[in-house]
């Protein structure tokens, strides 16, 4: 009997040990792996290093470039004043029949979001030629759409939410473009002759931002201002005609290139170039001397250019959850300083992911990003004296995605994601829809609009259309 009891106890203990061991062996914590930084094997990542001969190739497509006289001018990103406001517009046709506005021509483009410029009778666009794997500055006859010439260079890049995404700039018969891989090219506007080039990666150690460069070059008089974010240089001024370096602003804090463009503004009577890079915002005067810097607001992706609200405040906004902020500038004893003020998320106030907001008679007008809650993708207006309150919205039945917009002839012209052109009036803090028409077939119509003397160029991801909005062509 004792033996049996002992045997039973032994079996019980053995079974208990067996179950305990099984439990310890099979506990789920065994399968938990540490979430360490390089699990995606990104250490193997090799950015393709291609020796690009910027501007190496040229093709003239029309021998006779005698063009119809046209005096309109939209010479760079956001127009002549870089504010997306046309103050002296010809009267525009704001309502149309069933066929929509008059289409002058259409053309296919490489996939991207690059916007065109208009310089008198010509239009210029930094396109991507899919078949040739090349960035190409294409020159079109504005009213006929005939391509006159293209200056291009081999730049094999892979599709990364499109390829092209910048707007060239033109002054004094020189067009300056900045390509997706940060290749800068200056050509003569009339002939396409190559003047000078810069490779911001090779020459300055800059990093191409995610989804390729989106910065649009700034021409100020006889100089080009570029936000570089290189190993040693943050901003540089180059001579427009020769490309010679005029000055360089040192990059003391390792700020990287963003998608934002350099802002030319005047605060307290001092002209300054302001650049919102990845890691901070900086300003220098027209001799390249640092005026102020602030690193308290650092969105990981920064596309909209800052907007000066008044002589003391800059409106900063960025997408991907960043929201917006106010930067206060003060000027004491001959020195500027910048201090971050109130900041907010897109569901609490005006914000933007891609397009730069528009400042119109004390109203900050923007299209809210997709993370703005109930106002997602709505057109909204805020009084700059009462930020971040939103005073007017287009309403939940009027949403526009990430599309571009500008103000001309007393109306807002908005292109939504799907290529529908909307016209809205804005009066007494109310938006009123005047008309709408689908003018483009495709998607992602995010390229900035160009408008000069009633001729409008808009694009979707793969095509561009030229519209004649003049009341009297």
């Amino acid at each position: 009997m004792k033996k049996a009891l002992l045997l039973g106890k032994t079996i019980f203990v053995l079974l208990a040990l067996f179950f305990l061991q099984s439990y310890l062996n099979y506990t789920s914590s065994k399968e938990v792996l540490p979430a360490t930084p390089a699990r995606d094997h990104s250490e193997q990542r090799q950015v393709q290093a291609v020796q690009t001969r910027i501007g190496s190739d040229f093709t003239r497509l029309q021998e006779d470039d005698t063009l119809t006289a046209f005096s309109g001018l939209w010479p760079g990103f956001r127009g002549p004043q870089r504010d997306n406001i046309v103050t002296d517009s010809v009267p525009l046709q704001k309502t149309w029949g069933a066929d929509g506005p008059r289409v002058l021509w259409r053309t296919g483009l490489g996939e991207g979001y690059a916007g065109a410029i208009i310089v008198h009778e010509r239009a210029y666009l930094l396109d991507y030629l899919e078949a040739e794997n090349a960035d190409a500055l294409r020159c079109f006859a504005l009213l006929s759409g005939e391509e006159l010439w293209r200056r291009y260079y081999h730049n094999p890049i892979r599709r990364n939410h499109g390829k092209s995404r910048t707007v060239p700039a033109c002054a004094n018969n020189v067009v300056v473009s900045l390509g997706p891989a940060a290749h800068v090219m200056a050509v003569e506007a009339s002939s396409g002759e190559l003047l000078w080039t810069r490779d911001l990666v090779r020459d300055y150690g800059a990093e191409v931002p995610q989804w390729y460069a989106g910065q649009c070059p700034l021409i100020d008089g006889d100089r080009v201002i570029l936000g570089i974010g290189g190993t040693a240089v943050l901003l540089a001024a180059l001579d427009l005609r020769s490309g010679e370096t005029l000055w360089e602003l040192p990059n003391q804090h390792g700020i990287k290139m963003s998608h934002a463009s350099v802002l030319l503004a005047e605060f307290q009577g001092v002209k300054q170039y302001i650049y919102a890079g990845i890691g901070g915002i900086s300003a220098c005067d027209d001799s390249g001397q640092l005026l102020w810097q602030n690193q308290d607001w650092k969105p990981p992706v920064w596309a909209p250019t800052p907007v000066p609200l008044d002589q003391q405040r800059l409106f900063l906004t960025a997408g991907y959850g960043a929201g917006s902020a106010i930067l206060h500038l003060s000027f004491r004893e001959g020195k500027f300083s910048a201090e971050l003020g109130e900041s907010w998320k897109p569901n609490r106030g005006p914000a933007s992911e891609q397009q730069t907001p528009l400042l119109l008679d004390g109203a900050l007008i923007t299209i809210q990003p997709k993370d703005a809650g109930a106002r997602r993708c709505e057109l909204v207006a805020s009084a700059i004296s009462a930020l971040p309150a939103i005073a007017a919205g287009s309403g939940r039945d009027h949403r526009f995605g990430l599309g571009p917009y500008l103000y001309a002839d007393g109306a807002l012209w908005i292109l939504d994601d799907e290529g529908v052109l909307h016209v809205y009036s804005f009066a007494d803090w109310r938006f009123t829809e005047l008309s709408r028409c689908k003018v483009l077939p495709g998607v992602d119509s995010w390229g900035p609009i160009a408008l000069a003397d009633g001729i409008m160029l808009v694009r979707d991801s793969t095509s561009m259309v030229c519209l004649d909005l003049r009341k009297e062509p």
Binding site: R39, S42, Q48
Partner: protein, 180 residues
């Protein structure tokens, strides 16, 4: 009925029972319609993770690769306050590390859902919808769902995103135009 016939009847019933059960099970597994989530209505409220009678939920995040941008910065993968674009836990939006990221070739990264880990919280779907292409979305996985026709998630879904779909087309794919 004599004893032999009685036993024969019992034996016949026992033999037939598995076939009858099999037939019944087959019939219940292939109803005319099934529950599914309409991605265009889903608001990623998190009810799919909490309300399902299964733990973890039979709803999973799925990835429509054709709509994905394969970006380094995936807003479904990284949360808003990430420090770096790497795979360290502190940067990731998914609370259970259910998205596996693999470097393909510059500049592309692939994002794959580990359904064994996914709890259907919808956080990645929200991030993808707000900033990305919307290629991540929630679907009822019919290999996991009990198909009991008394779906508790459908009863509590605040957006009315649970809809009946034909069993022959049990999943709802996004069209190209909807993938934004």
């Amino acid at each position: 009925m004599n004893r032999r016939n009685f036993l024969q009847s019992i034996f016949a019933v026992l033999l037939a029972a598995p076939f009858a059960l099999l037939f019944r099970r087959t019939k219940s597994a292939l109803p005319g319609t099934l529950w599914q989530i309409d991605p265009s209505k889903c608001i990623q409220c998190g009810q799919c993770a909490r309300a399902c009678i299964l733990r973890p939920s039979a709803v999973k995040c799925v990835h429509q690769y054709a709509a994905c941008g394969y970006c380094l910065f995936c807003s479904g993968y990284y949360h808003d306050q990430r420090h770096k674009f790497d795979t360290a836990a502190e940067n990731l939006r998914c609370p259970v590390d259910a998205i596996e990221r693999t470097y393909i070739e510059d500049p592309y990264f692939e994002y794959k859902i580990n359904e064994d880990k996914c709890i259907a919280c919808g956080k990645c779907v929200k991030g993808c919808a707000e900033f990305g292409n919307g290629s991540l979305f929630l679907q009822v996985r019919h290999n996991l769902c009990k198909n009991c026709n008394q779906c508790h998630i459908a009863a509590v879904c605040p957006a009315g995103a649970f809809v009946r779909v034909p069993a022959s087309r049990p999943y709802i794919f996004k069209h190209a135009g909807e993938a934004k």
